[in-house]
Point group: D2
Chain length 342, copies 4
C-alpha cells in the first residue's frame, strides 16, 4: 500500500475554488452547447489573457479529445501531422489521431522538443502523392519529458511553420507549469501570437476536468463547432467547464497552482541531485526523471507510487515523479528522507 502517489498530476480532485465556481454558476437557465453566458464570460476572460480578441475558444472535457478534434479540423485526408516520437498523440492516445484518418509523421527527439531542422527534413523528404503531405506540427509545452521551449525556440518553429505552410499546434496539457517555470522567458500572450492553435490544460492543473482550445488563426475558426459536435466533444451544459476556467483565470489561481507543482518537483529534483543521481532530461517543470539504481527503486516502489519510465542500463532505470497543485510538501520531504536513508 502506497503512502503517497507521484504517478501523475491528475491523482487528486479539483482545487476547492474551482469546485466553488461550479456552485456559483449553477443557477439559472442558459442556452445549451456553449451558447450560455458563463461560457461567453470565460471566453471573454481568456481572450483578454491571451491578448487576441478574435480568438475562437472552446471548452472540452479532456486532452486526447482536444488533440483529436483540433487535428481532424486542421488536416485534409491525405495530410499529416509532424510530431516528436515522444509526442502524446503518438504514444499515449490509443491511435486517436489515426482513428480520424491521419498519419503522424514522427521525428526522433531526445528532449521531447522539435526544431526547425527536424521539421524541414520531414517536409523535404516527403514525396508528393506517395507519402502524406505534412500540414501541421504538434508540439507540447511543457513536453512529455518536462522540458520547455524558450521564446527564441518557439519563434524559430513558428517562422519555419509559416514559411512552409504548416499549422503549428501546441498541446498545453501542462501549459501552466511551463508558464511559471523559473527559467522561462515566454508569456501566454507570446504563445498565442506564435502558434495557430493551442490548448490550456485544466485537468492536469487543478480543474475537475476540462481544457480550453484556443484557435488563434482566424482562418481555422469558422466550422470548428461542427468538428466538436461530430466528435462528441460539445457539452450540453457549457457552463461546467467554463466556470472552472473563470475560477482559474479570474485571478492568479491557474499560475499559483502550477507554481506549487513546479516547486514540489524542483524540491524533489534538488534533493535527488544532491544525493548524486543524474536525470534523463533537464526539467524545470512538474515532471522529473531521475535515474536510480534498480535495487533502490525496488526498495521504494512499495511505499511510493510512480512509473518506471525506461531502463537506462542493466543496473539503473529512469523513473518519473510527477507533482501537482495538491502535492503535500511533507510527502516530498518524506520521499527524500526515505531515499537518503536507504
Amino acid at each position: 500500500m502506497h503512502t503517497y502517489l507521484f504517478y501523475n498530476d491528475y491523482s487528486e480532485g479539483a482545487h476547492p475554488d474551482v469546485l466553488k465556481a461550479l456552485i456559483t454558476y449553477n443557477d439559472g437557465q442558459e442556452n445549451g452547447y456553449g451558447e450560455d453566458m458563463v461560457t461567453r464570460k470565460a471566453v471573454a476572460l481568456l481572450r483578454e489573457r491571451i491578448g487576441i480578441n478574435e480568438a475562437k475558444i472552446a471548452f472540452v472535457s479532456g486532452g486526447t479529445q482536444a488533440n483529436l478534434v483540433v487535428l481532424a479540423s486542421l488536416l485534409q485526408p491525405y495530410e499529416s501531422v509532424i510530431a516528436p516520437v515522444s509526442g502524446h498523440i503518438h504514444v499515449h492516445e490509443a491511435g486517436a489521431i489515426e482513428a480520424t484518418g491521419h498519419k503522424i509523421e514522427t521525428v526522433p527527439s531526445t528532449d521531447g522538443k522539435l526544431t526547425p531542422t527536424l521539421i524541414e527534413k520531414v517536409v523535404s523528404d516527403a514525396m508528393p502523392i506517395h507519402t502524406t503531405k505534412p500540414r501541421a506540427v504538434f508540439i507540447s509545452h511543457a513536453t512529455e519529458v518536462g522540458t520547455i521551449y524558450t521564446k527564441r525556440e518557439l519563434t524559430a518553429l513558428s517562422d519555419t511553420c509559416r514559411k512552409l505552410g504548416l499549422y503549428l499546434y501546441l498541446d498545453g496539457a501542462r501549459l501552466g507549469t511551463a508558464l511559471v517555470a523559473s527559467e522561462t522567458d515566454m508569456t501566454l500572450q507570446d504563445i498565442a501570437r506564435l502558434v495557430d492553435v493551442f490548448y490550456i490544460g485544466g485537468t492536469k492543473n487543478g480543474a475537475a476536468l476540462g481544457e480550453a482550445i484556443i484557435i488563434c488563426n482566424p482562418k481555422l475558426q469558422e466550422n470548428f463547432d461542427y468538428h466538436l459536435k461530430q466528435r462528441g466533444a460539445l457539452l450540453a451544459k457549457g457552463r461546467i467547464i467554463a466556470a472552472q476556467f473563470l475560477a482559474m483565470f479570474n485571478g492568479t489561481l491557474y499560475m499559483d497552482m502550477a507554481r506549487h507543482a513546479n516547486a514540489m518537483a524542483q524540491k524533489l529534483s534538488t534533493g535527488i541531485s544532491a544525493m548524486g543521481y543524474m536525470f534523463l532530461t533537464d526539467s524545470p517543470t512538474n515532471q522529473i526523471f531521475p535515474i536510480l539504481p534498480n535495487t533502490l527503486i525496488d526498495k521504494i516502489k512499495d511505499k511510493y507510487g510512480f512509473y518506471v519510465w525506461c531502463p537506462v542500463n542493466g543496473d539503473t532505470s529512469c523513473i518519473r515523479l510527477v507533482t501537482s497543485w495538491a502535492t503535500k510538501e511533507e510527502a516530498v520531504d518524506e520521499f527524500l528522507a526515505t531515499l537518503k536513508n536507504l
Copy 2:
C-alpha cells in the same frame, strides 16, 4: 427577452445534491482513467441497481460521445446500425456515427419507435456485399418525440434482435423520464436484461454532465476501454462523473428528478389539451409536442423559449416544450395562463 425557457432539459445546471457529491468525493489521491475508488463504488452501485453483477460500466461526458463510442465498438467496418428516421444519431449528431465509418440504415417511424417488422424488413432487404450488413439496432427510451416502449414491445424487439444476430442498443439520454412515466410497466432491471448495451443519461436529468454506459452483454465488454480512450472519452479523473451517479442512484434522486420533469410536462399537456389543442405524439414524458395555430405561436414566442418542431399545415405548427428536474411550477402555470388568455 424570454421569461422562461422550455427549450430543453439541459437549460439548467446540476441538482445541488449532485454538486455536493463532487465536493464529498474530491479529496485524496486516486488512480487515473477510471481506476479510482469512486468509480469502482459507482460501478458497484449501478450493477446492483440494474441487477447484472458482471456488467461493464463506463462513465462518459455526453450523449453523442456515448453513442459514437458504443456503436464504433459494436460494428465491423461494413456493418450498419438500424435506427428510426427520428433517431438522435441520424439527425442531431453532425454525422458522428458516419465519422466513425458506419452507415445508419433508417426506417420510417411516426412515433419514434422501432418494431420487429421494421427491423426485419431492413435485414431482409439487405443484399449481401452490395448493401451494408445490419448488425446493431438503435432505439431511444424515451424517444426523441417523448414516447416510450412497453415491456411487451421491448421484449419483442429484443427477441427479434437475438434471432437475427443484431445487437440492441438503447440510448437512455432521457431514461429517467421513461422509467417513471405514469404508464410504464418497465423497470431498469427489465431494460438491462433485454438490451445488449444502453446508457443512463445524466446530462438531461440533473447531472452537471455525464452518462453511464452499461454493457450488459459480456461478449462486448473486453476491449471497450480502448474504444473510450481512442475517441477521447476516457476522463483522467474518473471520480468527476462517478460521484454524480453515486449521488443520483444512492437514494431516489435520479427517479425523483425525472418524476418532477414528467409532472411539469404532463401539467402543461393537460392544460393545453383542455384548451382543445391536439398533439403530434402521445408523450407521457418530459417532452410534449402540442399543435398550435401559427398566429398563437407568434404571440407567445417572445415570452417563452421553445422550438417550433415542424409545420403541420399552412395554419398550424407543432412546437416542442421540454421540462426538467428544475422546471418551476409557477412557470408552467404562467405559460398555461398566457396561452389561455390569448
Copy 3:
C-alpha cells in the same frame, strides 16, 4: 440454366476494339502512376471531347472507387452529400461513402432524379452544428432507374448548387446511354459545363474496366492525386485504362456501343408494352422496368437471367432488364416471343 442474361451491362467482357488498344499501347517504357504518354494522350482527347482544356482527368478501375474518392475529396469531415434514396452510393456500395467518414443525406424520389426543391429543402432543414452541413449533390445520369435529365433540369440543378455553395457531382456509370438516348437534348459538353465533377463510365459500356473522373471545377483539382493514391485507386500502369478510353473516344465507339444497348432495351420495351404491360419508370436508356404478373415471372425466370426489382402489388412485380453493347438482337427477339407465347 439460363439461355440469356439480362442481369446487367457488365455480363460481357470488353469490346474487341478496346482489347485491341491494350495491345496497341502495350510496348515501350513509360512513367508510372498516370504520368505515362498514353494517359496524357487520353487526357488530351477527353479534354477536347468535353470542351474544357483545363479539366483534371484521372482514370480509375471502377464506379464505387470513383464515387468514394471523389466525395472524400470534396467534403470536410462534417460535410455531407445529398442523394436520392435510389442513389447508387446509398444502396449499392456497402457503406463506401460512410467508410470515408461522410453522411449521405437522402431525399425521396420516385424517378431517381433530384430537383432544386428537394435540394433546397435539405439545405434549409439543416440545423448548424447539430446536423451535417450539406456540401455536395450526387446525381446519376442515366439514373439507377433508367431515367435521364433534360438540359433544362440539369441547368436548374446546377444553378441551385452554385447558389447554395454545393458541389454538383454526376455519376456517369451509364453516361453513354444517357447521351445517345433518343429523347435527350444534352451533349457531353453541356454536362461538363454544368457540373463540378463527373465520371464517364467505361465498365458498363464496353470497357474491360475503368472510369474517367473529370474534375471540371479548377478549385477542386489540386491535390486530387493524393486522394487517388490514398484510396488505392492510382494504378501503377496508367496506360491500362487510358488505352481503353482512347479506343472508345478516338472515334464514335463509345456512343455506338451505348446506342446499341439502348436500341436493344427499347426494342424490349416496345414489345412488352405492346403486350399491354406497364413500367415502373419511363426509361429511354438500357435499363427497363416492366411490371409483370408473378405467375408470368415464374415461367420465364429459369430461361432468362434478370432481377426482380420490387413487388408492385400482391400479384405483380417489377423486373429489371438490362442490355449492353453486346446484347444479341436474337436474344431480345426470343425473349419477346417467349413472353408473348406464355
Copy 4:
C-alpha cells in the same frame, strides 16, 4: 532524354501472353463481381499452386488497394499493425492505412526485414488502453530493399505471431522475384502455410494490373467481400484480372518472368561490384542498391532513368536500379559499359 529506364518494374506494359488471355476469356456472359467462371477457374488454379484448398482468393487492381483492404479487415479500430520503417504501407501509400483508421507501429530495420525480437518488443512495450493494441504484422517478400526471408526466418516470425496472437500478413508485390531468387529455400506453399494472409503481385511482374489476395487463415475469410466492395476494390468484370493470373500460373510464366528480372538485376550487380562499388543491401532480387560517387551519378543520370535512394556520405549516394520481366539485356550491358568507361 533517357535511353533506358531502371526506375521500376512497372515501366513496361503486360507480357504478351497475359494480354492474350484477356482475349481468350473475353467472350460470353458471366456473373458480375467475382462470381464468374474465369475467376472460379483462377481461384481453383491458385489454390492448387499454394496447396490450400480452402483459401479465400480475391483479385484486386493494385498493391496499395490490397494492403488497405486486407489490413482494414484484420484490425479492430484500436488495433495496429507492426511494420518495418521501410515498409511500403508506412512510406509509400499516402497514409492509406491510417485513412482506414489504423496506426502503423514501426520498428527500425536496416535490411527491410522484421525479426521475432523486434515484434516482441513492440508487443511488450504496448501499454493497455494508452497505446494501440498490436494485432497484425506487415512484412514484404522481397522487401522494399530487395532482401528476402529464409524459410527459417519466416517460420520464426510465424511462430512468434501465433504465440502472440498476431496476424502475419505478407505483401507479395515482388513475390515472384523472391520465389526464384537463387539463394531462396522457400516455396509458394511454404509461404501459404506460414502466413495468415498474403498477396501475389501481378502488377510488378508482367500483368497489366492486378494482385491476388490469398486468405489462408479460415477465420479471416467470411466477410472479406464486404471489405472489398466497401473500399471500391471489387471489380464488376472479375475475369479481367483472373484471366491474367490464369495465364501467369497455368504454366511457368509467372516464375519465368521473375527469373528474367532477377537475372538482369544480378548481372547489373555483378558488373557494378566488379568495378569495386559497395551496395546498401545484399539483394538477390530485381532491385539493387549500389553506392556510387555523386560525380558519377551526375554523369549517368541523363542517360538512364533511376532513383537516388539516399545520400550515404557527402561524396557518395545510394541509387536504386530496378529490372523487370521486360528488361533488355543489351540495356544492361550498355549501362555497365557506360559506367565502366566513365
